[in-house]
């Protein structure tokens, strides 16, 4: 085995050990972990609502495009748009609640 191979192997091993152990070297106390977990759960709920909000906005835009390209009648568009806005408002309310914590 040449010196180069040994050097590459050792360097590779060092990189792997460094990568794997980095999070463990900064281990948190159980209390820290609980705080982090609670914060992450809040962030997760918030993110899920943000995803739902983006999807609803997209739906509102799609309905408008459907109307403008002649796929929806005015009455249908207004009814769909009203329903979508009501759903968007509900998501915004929930998001506001989540942001307030």
């Amino acid at each position: 085995m040449s010196v180069l191979v040994v050097v590459i192997a050792v360097a590779l091993l060092a990189v792997v050990v460094y990568l794997l152990s980095a999070p463990l070297r900064t281990a948190r106390t159980p209390q820290d972990a609980e705080v982090v977990q609670a914060a992450e759960e809040r962030a997760s709920v918030q993110h899920e609502l943000e995803v739902a909000r983006e999807a609803k906005y997209r739906e509102i835009r799609d309905a408008e495009l459907d109307y403008r390209t002649g796929k929806l009648s005015r009455e249908d568009y207004e009814s769909v748009d009203d329903a979508l806005r009501a759903e968007a408002v509900e998501i915004l309310d929930r998001l506001e609640g989540a942001e307030r914590g």
Binding site: L20, E40, I60, D66
Partner: protein, 720 residues
């Protein structure tokens, strides 16, 4: 360097096992640092396998025949271009490619989700490392790419000449990227089920990867078809071969998923269906690899051995059982949030499209695995051929193309009959006009092809109308010129209009398939120089034979020792159309029993097709010269008896000269095929549309659109 490669594999296996343990321990005990360490195990795997792949690639490029895999699949006469790609022509190398690509894509997916869905991502990490560990184990225990022989043989067997074709450089990496990308939605889907978090977030996280898998798999399939058409010498691009089918099946379920996921995003519906499609697509991708690598079914594309069958069957069994258990046990939380508002809605069309796509997949699955099923049930292996596949897939493909034209003109949620009628006028008129023109032109004898042309015209009409109306609406709103309005329309609605472009591409592709398979003229016959024959509307004359010797002068640049061909003059109504030069390459073999001269040309001969390809038709030609004539055989026999290896090429020179001076009758295969180019063009359009759809919206535009939508919702809030 082989030692470094072996060390990499062992280290990779250790990292996989550690990463699985750390991720599962982290998520079960809420110890985030362990989940984080597990995620980093995937990054480490990527680093290790990159080094391993580089070691193997260097061995190929440097002709290091001490590596068994290099000696088996490369040689000094293999051109450098193909030596670089020979890595994945071997069983061992392709397993390494699979594991390496998986580690790269998994690293990207986990990096992008590093701050979200920690529990889902931790399970996904464990599953992805499970796949990685499986493939690394295969290499460590069954097919090690770093096995060596001492002393190293002086020369290798060479790359299979069939694979010496430019698209083969990128076809396997594309296909394997598709396969490995399919496992990412599967891992996240399973993770979401395990973590009991089946909300919209995991779908959003994997959407782009599902799309990328679909794109890569599609591109890989098309490149494979192109290789088959241009290289295999039979003139077809799709033969319903087991390995071709294996890549098509996950692509079909992936296509179904890309449509139905929109329904889940918008309406919170079809959750069971979507997660099942994701799991099925991932499992089918693994089954595809199994078919190529296990050698369990006969295929011209299967390059594996029999040894890997059992581990793959176990993995597939675990995947299927695990998927069914997870979906059934989580069915309560997968309930739909809404119901269909109307049967006349885009949701319904998407649902119909899903049923057709899954139906197509089922038909292909049945036909592909029928030999195994029949053997298991009756003890005798029976198989079904292209006519069986055509009988079921052609009508389904027609319905699919029709639906891809109906979908764009139907609104989400609900559409009224009056609107639908109005929107169908242009597409239906275009389809009827096409029908009338084709009937007048005398195209009546192929009803399925006729129906496909009409369906294609219907799609052009409906999608064209969508672009026109969208641009008109945009012009009315923003006062922009038509080209600008069109561009702005696509830029602001990438997914919608990217999808429409894909529909156009698929229609073009299917028209190409229908025309080329229904209206093809093919002739196989023997000709001597000076003789002519007719192929469709063309006349082909065998002008003279050609011959080149040694890899240096091989016109196809594939490293052949001898290449015999023909100059063909193609004319139509007396006018010159093209001069074509089909040839057949003869390659060296490692069989010492063939003699010093015989072994120089004793490898598998490969046809090099020559064609005049155009938008309306292709004239495709292949030659099979006769080198088994007594005169030519005598040169080889005398050479074998009298010439030492270093002078054996002299006899090949004599053989080439004798062939040119007294050319025997050569067998030719001529095909006049319409619209084949449309298949490749359609594929390019599909690829372009896919890129448009997958491309992230510019952040400024996204912010502006979000602000506008927010303002509109606030307006709604005020009204409520």
């Amino acid at each position: 360097m082989a030692g470094l490669g072996r060390l990499c594999l062992v280290l990779a296996l250790v990292v996989c096992v550690y990463g699985i343990g750390a991720s599962l321990y982290g998520v079960r005990t809420s110890r985030v640092e362990f989940s984080e360490s597990g995620r980093r195990a995937v990054y480490s795997l990527a680093v290790i396998l990159t080094v391993a792949f580089a070691v193997l690639e260097v061995a190929f490029l440097r002709n290091n025949f001490a590596f068994n895999t290099v000696a088996d699949t490369s040689s000094r006469t293999t051109p450098t271009f193909y030596r670089a790609a020979a890595v994945w022509s071997s069983q061992e190398g392709s397993l390494l490619l699979w594991a390496w690509l998986l580690s790269l894509w998994a690293s990207l997916a986990l990096f992008l989700t590093r701050k979200r869905m920690r529990d889902v991502a931790a399970y996904a990490t464990a599953i992805l490392l499970g796949f990685g560990g499986f493939f690394v184990s295969l290499m460590v225990f069954y097919a090690n790419p770093f096995q060596t022989t001492s002393p190293a043989p002086p020369e290798g067997a060479g790359l299979d000449p069939l694979l010496r074709f430019p698209t083969m450089m990128i076809h396997p990496p594309m296909l394997y990227s598709g396969y490995t990308l399919c496992t990412i939605p599967l891992a996240f889907g399973m993770g979401a089920l395990l973590a009991r978090r089946v909300d919209a977030e995991w779908i959003k996280s994997i959407r782009r990867f599902a799309f990328a898998a679909w794109l890569f798999l599609g591109a890989g399939i098309l490149l494979g078809a192109r290789w088959s058409y241009s290289e295999l010498g039979w003139g077809g691009y799709w033969g319903w071969d087991a390995v071709e089918n294996a890549s098509l099946m996950p692509w079909l379920t992936g296509t179904a998923f890309l449509h139905s996921l929109m329904i889940q995003e918008k309406r919170g519906m079809l959750k069971v269906w979507n997660v099942s499609l994701v799991l099925a697509t991932g499992t089918l991708a693994i089954m595809g690899t199994f078919l190529v690598r296990s050698g369990v079914l006969n295929s011209i594309h299967a390059f594996g051995g029999q040894t890997l069958g059992v581990p793959f069957v176990i993995l597939i069994g675990v995947l299927i059982a695990g998927s069914i258990y997870l979906v059934v046990s989580r069915r309560e939380m997968l309930r739909s949030e809404h119901r269909l508002d109307s049967l006349l809605s885009r949701e319904s069309i998407f649902l119909a499209n899903n049923i057709v796509l899954v139906g197509l997949c089922f038909v292909i699955f049945w036909g592909t695995y029928f030999p195994l099923i029949s053997e298991a049930l009756t003890g005798q292996e029976a198989s079904v051929g292209p006519p069986w596949f055509d009988r079921y897939t052609v009508p389904l493909a027609l319905v699919l193309v029709l639906l891809s034209g109906i979908g764009p003109v139907i609104a989400w949620r609900r559409a009224t009959l009056a609107n639908a009628r109005r929107n169908f006028v242009v597409p239906v008129l275009l389809a009827l006009l096409t029908l009338a023109v084709l009937l007048v032109a005398g195209v009546q004898q192929k009803p399925f092809a006729l129906a496909m042309f009409c369906c294609g015209a219907f799609v052009f009409g409906s999608v064209g109308q969508e672009f026109f109306r969208g641009a008109r609406a945009r012009r009315a709103m923003a006062g922009e010129a038509t080209p600008l309005a069109l561009m702005a329309l696509v830029r602001r609605n990438r997914r919608r209009y990217g999808g429409y472009i894909v529909h156009i591409g698929m229609a073009v592709l299917f028209i190409g398939v229908a025309a080329s398979s229904s209206f093809q003229h093919a002739t196989e016959l023997g000709l001597s120089p000076g003789q002519s024959t007719r192929v469709g509307a063309y006349s082909v004359r065998y002008v003279r034979p050609t011959a080149t010797i040694t890899p240096k002068y091989d016109a196809a640049h594939t490293g052949s020792t001898l290449s015999l061909g023909a100059v063909l003059d193609v004319t139509k109504h007396g006018h010159h159309v093209a001069t074509l030069n089909p040839s057949e390459g003869y390659y060296a073999s490692q069989e010492a029993s063939q003699g010093t001269v015989g072994s120089l040309i004793g490898g598998q001969p490969v046809s090099h097709v020559s064609m005049n390809a155009g938008v309306t038709r292709d004239v495709w030609t292949a030659i099979e010269p006769d080198i088994e004539t007594p005169a030519l055989k005598r040169i080889v026999t005398i050479g074998n008896r009298t010439l030492p290896p270093e002078d054996a090429v002299v006899a090949i020179g004599y053989l080439a000269r004798a062939y040119l001076q007294h050319p025997p009758v050569a067998q030719f295969h001529f095909i006049d095929s319409p619209l084949v180019m449309w298949i490749w063009l359609g594929g390019l359009i599909v690829f372009t549309g896919g890129l448009v759809a997958i491309w992230p919206a510019p952040s400024a535009v996204r912010r502006r659109v979000a602000l506008r939508s927010r303002a509109r919702a606030a307006h709604g809030l005020a009204r409520a």
